[in-house]
């Protein structure tokens, strides 16, 4: 339960404080650190863009990709960012459907993480092709003149269709939920900003019909987006599972395993982002220890479900005694340097954070939650790397030259740039729209109450049936 923002205050005082707190950074000048930080992130993004330009000019020979390892950092990073993108809308949708009261400050940031991480994910396979200008006719049927059509039997065509659906849906979902907040901004801005926010608010007045439809929209769109979210990472997993050449990837549980892994890394990323935003914008009244506690409890369940899939995938794969499976696992777990990466992956993704989250003091600690959720994502990035590279590097029949994979500086720069890009875009978004949904927080304040039971007063929330 979120604490009451101003004890005993009337609606106008509470609303004014919420507007001031959540819109201050948009309407008033930004904190002193804001633009220097944006500048630094832009510099990193520019370096990555330069590296990408160099690669496009020179060809993908400048990467560390070499037969038989033709998927490396780019595809690892693609799977990672698609995974991160899953948290957002999933978290928002499930919590809306479940009417979880603590969702209110977390939903918008989660949705924004989805949008920008998905945009970043899309860039990875485009760059990986080495000829980005050809991607359009590999993915979309538009080249009528030459009769060139995408091969719809390839999962590499399913990917763009799923990601396109998810990205479009996520952007529209965010926009619909932003309309009432744009109206607040319209009412508090002047000049050109007022004109822009007026257009974005579409003339929103806030009468009961509009609010009712807004509430239905949240639930209806959540229900529609959830199946899309499940399909997207399932399809990403099929990029691997239906690849004929790598036997180690032929797994029927890859789809749910990838989906739950995506939720694990994504929810962790949302917690990381929320803690950083709380610190940056002084949102201590909104992103509370209770919010963190609830998210950490959810993470314990999600992480354990993910570990169950991981263990099933490894143990029952080995139980078959099939040579490719044993070869792949031997390489992943026992051969240098993958063995070291495997150890880091499994400890940071599960064995360090989950036991820690069992302690209330850790779940309610911003410092420990920040550290553990970052650890989870280090582990989950490595998990994707350990699926991609050892799977391809293993010696297989009819492969007559092979080597392992060493990422080049170009690839490292581009991957680092993607992290800077997502951070920069979230910060820039925070300058134009509130990262905590204003009307949702205000509604929470209207519906909250305390009730006396015996000798104690406990927080309560009124809710419509």
């Amino acid at each position: 339960m979120q604490d009451q923002l101003i004890i005993g205050a009337n609606t106008q005082e509470v609303d004014a404080k919420i507007n001031r707190d959540l819109l201050g950074h948009i309407i008033a000048p930004s904190p002193q650190w804001f633009w220097p930080l944006i500048g630094f992130l832009a510099l990193v993004v520019a370096m990555a863009a330069g590296a990408a330009g160099f690669m496009i000019n020179q060809g993908i020979g400048v990467t560390g990709l070499h037969r038989p390892v033709m998927w490396g950092f780019f595809i690892t990073n693609f799977v990672f960012w698609v995974g991160i993108s899953h948290a957002g809308v999933m978290l928002s949708a499930i919590l809306r459907l479940a009417q979880a009261e603590w969702r209110r400050p977390a939903t918008r940031a989660a949705e924004i993480v989805t949008v920008f991480s998905l945009m970043t994910a899309v860039l990875m396979p485009i760059l990986h092709t080495g000829r980005p200008w050809r991607v359009l006719y590999w993915a979309f049927p538009y080249d009528f003149a030459r009769g060139i059509w995408p091969n719809v039997r390839s999962p590499l065509v399913w990917d763009p269709s799923a990601i396109n659906t998810y990205l479009t849906s996520s952007i529209l979902f965010v926009y619909i939920a932003l309309i009432p907040d744009f109206a607040v901004l319209r009412d508090r801005s002047t000049g050109i900003r007022h004109m822009i926010y007026s257009v974005l608010a579409l003339g929103w007045r806030g009468y009961p019909r509009q609010w009712r439809l807004q509430m239905i929209a949240g639930i209806l769109l959540s229900a529609l987006i959830l199946p899309v979210f499940v399909s997207v990472h399932s399809i990403v997993s099929w990029d691997f599972a239906v690849a004929q050449s790598v036997e180690g990837w032929h797994s029927t549980i890859f789809a749910p395993y990838f989906v739950i892994g995506a939720v694990h890394s994504g929810v962790s990323a949302v917690v990381t982002v929320l803690i950083i935003l709380r610190y940056m914008f002084n949102w201590g009244d909104y992103i509370t220890r209770d919010t963190l506690d609830s998210l950490a409890r959810l993470l314990v369940v999600v992480a354990t479900a993910w570990f169950y899939f991981f263990a099933t995938e490894v143990l029952f794969g080995l139980f078959t005694l099939e040579t490719p499976e044993i070869g792949l696992r031997t390489m992943q777990i026992f051969q240098w340097p993958f063995a070291m990466l495997f150890l880091i992956f499994i400890t940071t993704a599960y064995f360090i954070p989950v036991p820690m989250w069992l302690f209330r003091n850790v779940r309610r600690s911003f410092k420990w939650m920040l550290i553990t959720t970052i650890l989870v994502n280090i582990g989950m990035w490595l998990e994707r790397f350990l699926i991609v590279v050892p799977g391809l590097a293993r010696k297989s029949p009819l492969t007559f030259n092979w080597s392992t994979y060493h990422p080049s500086v170009i690839e490292i720069l581009i991957v680092v740039g993607t992290f800077a890009f997502v951070s920069m875009m979230i910060l820039l978004f925070s300058k134009v729209a509130p990262l905590i949904p204003i009307y949702d927080v205000k509604e929470g304040q209207i519906l909250r109450d305390t009730i006396k039971i015996g000798k104690v007063e406990v927080p309560a929330v009124r809710r419509e049936e």
Binding site: V152, S161, T165, T168, L202, R209, Q210, L220, S231, E443
Partner: protein, 170 residues
């Protein structure tokens, strides 16, 4: 006679609800006024009836269109260039099902968004009488009436506890 608009601003939901009752007693109908808030209040808080809408029809229509387009694209492109790859049939159901599913969902979601905007009576190019205090916790009651009833509406709102009442030509 020119239609006029009156906007009363109330500090509490109780006062706003009282004003809607008094307006009805004074002969105004529910269609004459709108309650404007910066926050969603529980349905019926101001005595309004649940809104009638057809939002649930929109996703079904969108899904049907999306499915049709997806089948057209997947089947049409493969028949146009029937190249067998991997020994799979030209019209492979699992592959087509994936894209058909995504097309269906995309159509459903886009039409839902259109439906929400349409049923919310947006976009609204002319705002009408409005006050920015509404997004700062005040509750507005915007009433449209004839010139001769302007004074009566103003009086009813003030008697119900309006903090401020303003009116304008529309």
């Amino acid at each position: 006679m020119a239609a006029r608009q009156v906007l009363g601003l109330f500090r509490t939901a109780d006062n706003a609800a009282l004003a809607t009752d008094r307006l009805k007693e004074a002969g105004f109908s529910a269609g004459d006024y709108q309650v404007l808030t910066g926050t969603p209040y529980p349905e019926g808080a101001f005595g309004e009836d649940p809104p009638k809408h057809r939002l649930f029809a929109f996703p079904f229509f969108g899904a049907a269109v999306g499915l049709a387009i997806a089948i057209l694209i997947t089947a049409g492109t493969q028949i146009s260039y029937p190249l067998v790859t991997g020994g799979k049939p030209i019209l492979a159901i699992p592959a087509m099902a994936v894209i058909a599913y995504e097309g269906t969902m995309l159509g459903a979601i886009i039409m839902t968004i259109i439906g929400i905007i349409f049923e919310s009576r947006l976009p609204r190019p002319i705002m009408g009488l409005y006050d920015t205090r509404i997004t700062e916790g005040f509750i507005g009651i915007a009433l449209t009436c004839s010139e001769d009833r302007l004074q009566a509406a103003d009086l009813v709102m003030r008697q119900a506890g309006a903090d401020d009442v303003k009116n304008d030509d529309i």
